[in-house]
């Protein structure tokens, strides 16, 4: 892993004047790590389409959160919102640094990593969702991934995106609507086929 030390402005929303009792202590950090490490990784790999890069981003996010834990202000966002904001910044920096096109479709391992007992219908539906998701513009796909992988509330989503709640709601609505349209379109094509 090539986790590099983050700069101060990479730690997501600012935490100013956080009282001491609101700081993210080691126990809470461990709990957050156990609960959210897989989600952060899933978000990163879905956005970047690369396992190594996703691991880098995941490690970076937790390292930066650990460094910034003393400055966390619970009044200005939950630790999970901060974590995903950091992960998002790190992922976007990774995309920018690599300067290469992310895979327009999700990796093959995603589609094939299922139990054989799963119903055919479920497999087909997920394939449709995967294709629809891949067809979304990156900005909209990112919102869907943040929402579903991070399991963030609307306010947490707003914090992670560093926008207002209204703006976050609008983006989410637009992204889910387009995802639905994509899925509808793909479903009809398959029906016709």
């Amino acid at each position: 892993m090539s986790a590099q030390l983050p700069s101060a402005d990479d730690t997501g929303p600012r935490a100013v004047g956080a009282p001491a009792h609101d700081k993210l202590d080691d126990q809470a950090f461990d709990e957050l790590f156990r609960e959210s490490a897989a989600d952060v990784h899933a978000y990163a790999i879905s956005l970047l389409g690369n396992r190594a890069a996703a691991e880098d981003v995941t490690a970076l996010a937790f390292e930066r959160l650990y460094r910034a834990r003393a400055r966390l202000d619970h009044g200005r966002g939950t630790p999970k919102a901060w974590l995903f904001a950091i992960a998002r910044n790190a992922a976007l920096d990774e995309l920018r640094r690599r300067r290469r096109q992310p895979q327009s479709e999700l990796p093959d391992e995603m589609a094939g990593d299922h139990d054989h007992d799963e119903a055919f219908e479920q497999i087909a539906r997920r394939a449709t969702v995967r294709d629809a998701l891949a067809a979304l513009p990156l900005r909209e796909r990112e919102v869907v991934l943040l929402k579903f992988h991070g399991q963030l509330s609307n306010s947490e989503l707003a914090k992670a995106l560093d926008v207002s709640e209204s703006n976050a709601g609008t983006r989410l609505h637009r992204a889910l609507t387009r995802l639905r349209e994509q899925c509808d379109g793909l479903g009809r094509e398959e029906q016709i086929a």
Binding site: F33, A38, H41, L92, R139
Partner: protein
């Protein structure tokens, strides 16, 4: 293939109900097919991501634990703080250090500038008197402002003058000592109400030092007042007199002048010597005279020589008098602001006030420099942040 019945979002801009329905569906509080479809969609999206590599997860957990362990040992190594009040000595915070630095800088600037020192008050700040010797060696007239109380020079000048009052019969050209006339002026500051009292004390001082008040003019009022006195003091006591005058009231300004009158003195002495020699010669000639006409002529010339001797003596005494006494101009200024300059406590408060004013001025100047600088830094930091955010967002738009 079955078309998945996604819940409808309605209009482009979501209303609160749509968001609430989505939230309720995703957190499991809502029931029904629409809520189920949201949950199913989330499950499908989450299922697309491959699971995290267990090795990576374990390694990440170890790294976090290791990082925490690196941070933890610092605490036991910290010096114990048995005295809570002295805790700040062990771990000075950055703001405290910055504050101390600023205060030290301000104090240093204030001490360097030292605006509370009045320019004319500290007599020692005048240039000392290397000019005395130069003046003393100069022929003819010379005058200049000299440092306070050149006692040695004054004593020398007066001693020379007094010692040579009797005309020497030897060659006057051989005399190398200089004859000098000293003068001084001093300006004292006091309250308007004290002008008269200070002027009286100045006169008393002149008398006690063996001199006298040549002239005096006192003008007093409620808001202002001034007294001008001309003292005539023995040159030998000039230095001591100036010191005593300085004790009467704060000194605003002080200067001394020196004029070399050696040539005048020598000329008068030469004239006296010549006249005396001529008179003796005439007396010898008179003793040898035999005719009536010759005797009358010699007596007439003797009378003239006697007049010349008297005239030369008077001139010589006048020059000696100039050298042995010094004229001191004393000005007593009545100034309300001076008020309590003589009182230690009030003076200290006054100085403290001035120090505070200057400190505030320095802080103001520092703020005038630092505030714009800080604004620029904040603007640059904000700009950098906005630029990075823009760059990140551009990545999303470019794909």
């Amino acid at each position: 293939m079955k078309v998945i019945p996604f819940p409808s979002g309605g209009a482009e801009r979501p209303d609160e109900a749509w968001l609430s329905e989505l939230e309720a569906a995703l957190d499991g509080t809502a029931e029904g097919p629409r809520a189920d479809s949201w949950r199913e969609l989330r499950a499908d999206v989450r299922a697309l991501a491959p699971p995290m590599n267990p090795a990576f997860e374990r390694e990440l957990g170890e790294r976090i634990a290791e990082r925490r362990a690196r941070a933890a040992p610092k605490q036991p190594h910290r010096p114990k703080q048995p005295y809570r009040r002295l805790g700040w000595l062990h771990r000075p915070s950055r703001p405290a250090l910055a504050g101390v630095s600023v205060v030290c800088t301000v104090i240093a600037v204030v001490l360097i500038v030292a605006p509370w020192r009045p320019a004319g008050h500290v007599v020692e700040s005048y240039s000392k008197s290397p000019s005395i010797a130069a003046h003393a060696d100069n022929a003819g007239q010379s005058s200049g402002t000299v440092a306070s109380a050149p006692a040695a020079a004054a004593n020398k000048g007066s001693a020379l003058a007094q010692g040579d009052l009797v005309p020497a019969s030897g060659a006057p050209a051989a005399m190398s000592a200089r004859v000098q006339q000293l003068g001084a002026s001093i300006s004292l500051a006091t309250t308007p109400g004290e002008v008269q009292a200070v002027a009286d004390r100045v006169s008393q001082l002149a008398t006690s030092d063996g001199g006298y008040t040549q002239s005096s003019h006192v003008n007093t009022g409620e808001d202002a007042g001034e007294a001008s006195l001309t003292l005539n003091l023995p040159s030998a006591k000039l230095s001591a007199a100036l010191t005593s005058l300085g004790r009467l009231a704060p000194v605003r300004a002080e200067s001394q002048t020196l004029q070399d009158i050696t040539n005048t003195y020598d000329a008068d002495r030469q004239r006296l010597s010549d006249a005396t020699a001529e008179r003796q010669a005439l007396l010898r000639a008179l003793a040898k005279a035999s005719t009536e006409g010759e005797i009358d002529s010699l007596r007439e010339r003797l009378a003239q020589a006697g007049g010349a001797i008297a005239q030369a003596n008077t001139a010589l005494r006048a020059v000696s008098q100039r050298a042995s006494t010094s004229e001191v101009e004393v000005t007593v200024i009545g100034d309300k602001s001076v008020g309590s300059e003589g009182l230690t406590l009030n003076r200290g408060l006054h100085d403290a006030g001035r120090v505070l004013v200057v400190t505030l001025a320095v802080l103001l100047i520092a703020a005038a420099i630092l505030v714009p600088l800080a604004l620029v830094i904040f603007a640059l930091a904000g700009g950098r942040r906005a630029w990075r955010r823009h760059q990140r967002e551009r990545v999303l738009d470019a794909r």
